[in-house]
Symmetry: C2
Subunit: 426 residues, 2 copies
Amino acid sequence: MADYTKMWSELGLDLEGHDALLSVLGGAYTDIFLSQKNRPEGMKYFDFVMSEVHGLRIQELMDAKAQGRKVIGSYCVFVPEELILAVDGVSVGLCAGAEFNFEGAETLLPRNTCSLIKSAFGFKLGKVCPYLEASDVVVGENTCDGKKKSYEMLAPLVKDLYVMDMPQMKSAAGKALLKEEYRRFVAKLEEVSGKKITVDSLKKAVEVVNAKRKAVKRLAELRAADPSPISGLDALLVNQVFFYDDPIRFTDSVHKLCDELEERVKQGAGVSAKGTTRLIVSGCPMAVPNWKLPMLIESSDVVIVGEESCVGERGTRWLTEFKGGTVEEIIDSITERYFNIDCAIFTPNPSRVEYVKEMTEKLKAQGVIHYSLQFCQPYIMESSPVEKELEKSGMPVLRLETDYSQEDAGQLKTRIEAFVERLKKK
Amino acid sequence: MADYTKMWSELGLDLEGHDALLSVLGGAYTDIFLSQKNRPEGMKYFDFVMSEVHGLRIQELMDAKAQGRKVIGSYCVFVPEELILAVDGVSVGLCAGAEFNFEGAETLLPRNTCSLIKSAFGFKLGKVCPYLEASDVVVGENTCDGKKKSYEMLAPLVKDLYVMDMPQMKSAAGKALLKEEYRRFVAKLEEVSGKKITVDSLKKAVEVVNAKRKAVKRLAELRAADPSPISGLDALLVNQVFFYDDPIRFTDSVHKLCDELEERVKQGAGVSAKGTTRLIVSGCPMAVPNWKLPMLIESSDVVIVGEESCVGERGTRWLTEFKGGTVEEIIDSITERYFNIDCAIFTPNPSRVEYVKEMTEKLKAQGVIHYSLQFCQPYIMESSPVEKELEKSGMPVLRLETDYSQEDAGQLKTRIEAFVERLKKK
């Protein structure tokens, strides 16, 4: 990696803390990703992206800003990337996947707050997230209580926090509220960028984002093969990079990877032996560099073949389908698309468990691990009904609740291994 | 109390569990309430209500049902009593204030769920809440994540669970959503009651509920006197009885109590000596029989002079003001009224802390105890900014987080006493 010290300084990063973070992350990446066997060649691109995640990519953001483009940071798949691209903005997911400076975060947040939220605050207060510091606007959203209320405390810490309201039910009124919020977001984007959304810019943006989604859908489908041509860790990484890479380059790189995986499937080659136990992971999002659970799972002679998660199929499985040609009509189509997302913040949320079932069938999974972040009430509350429903249809489920610390790794590993034993005896 | 065994049996109560509950409650009531010194005579009515809380009042509900009236149970101050009364229904608050059968509740709910929600499930699964069993419709509302998601699990356990959606922001779209939800609730009430809401029935209902609010407002204002003419425990009890007594009889009884308190104030008489330390309690609602914290506070040579809570001023301080004479216009006025409520589920929620300040001034309080139920994310998240804001204006704050168990009573008592010492030294 080149020397980015000057750029990081100018962004106001705490260089010492940031160096420490990068060093830990680099070590973890080597241990967890580079040590895997039978990795596809196509993952080299993603290894490179990761090695430059706080370097070259940030340089690109700074170059974009120098050209007058705006960087819009966000924490949630309900923030439409299409709208950001339509004002020639750059959409980036913000850091919330590592246990960094939780002591600092806990000076503002209650102890009983999920790790994802604590992480966002830890990075901000510790000044180690260049994405956050480079963002012209940070978009919050009223999804869960924790995020909704914590944005009130984040507001004074960032330049321009914009909060998007969210519906809680899939009703006509709920959809109307979301549509209204997306219109309000368009106005905000037009104001900060000084650019008007046009039919052309919006259509092109929808095409770019749809193409990205189609690429990861292609990847998702290839994992139905036995042996799976790619590890769950690598597939998760692709889904994580989805949030901050340049969208067109990302799409190309995923297709190149898929070409290779297709070849593997034809040849019956994979990351592990045919017949290896196959699991789906369902639940809370895993933001970079939250690789804790998949690492524990895949080191237990298991391959993860799908993620029912915002960083996974829940975030990407719907395309925006044009239903009309005006800007208003395209915004309506975008609203339709996002209103499908079956996040546990909705009540009731029956389509989520139905889709987990569908995934287990098409990906030939033998079990489901339900992953909840501690204190994430929506997913924890939903985990018990999801488990009951899946077990009723004969699908074994292991419910795990954890945080970003490594303290419970041994305990989780034991439970995962016992679950895998149960599946093998079936 | 008369023998209500037959009625309780017919309601499907678990008689053994219910007897045990009543015995514990009766004992607690005697210890906490009847042992107080200098109680107003007017509290005798409320003592009687409490002694018949599962008896005579339930008999009244059954008599109302026999006459074709519907009993509508709810858990939240966002459910408009006006609308229920306008179809000649009976509005009752449902049991959620005691630690009963939490083992049962935890078979459905995550351990990290607040006591209020666990209590509602414990009472239902233990079959000891005659209000719940007598309800023709149980109304849930999407306030916090915990309640929102737990209603999905309550639905199969009760006859007719009706869930009301809630806004999360005080925006035009938020108000529109609430208005729409109240209209939908009107349709539901008209359907189950077989009665149409008319201008007359709605006006009368608004007047009845406003009168009830005016009565408790009168009570709240009398507590500005030093010495306070009534204890915080007794005032809280009145605010708790607000939720399930006959509204007209309740209003009369509160006014009788207030007449007596006015006389006390004139004579300079009170429940404790002039100059006793005066506190406001702000935060989560205290449903009957949750008297734990006020009991600990008032046994520390302190008088509580106000509750900023849903069971307190937050629930009652606004009247519904007629702005037009049609049913639609009155529903608009009702929406306006309820949309004021500054519950921590809203983001941002600045008027709440402003009102706490106002209360401390008009009630001449020397400090504020912020009360959060453990795992109640909205109030816990809001407690730190509330504390900072109040301390900035010179008002000392003690933040407490607890549940319904008695396990931490000693620890809380120590912290309260230390806080009171701090106030006395000022």
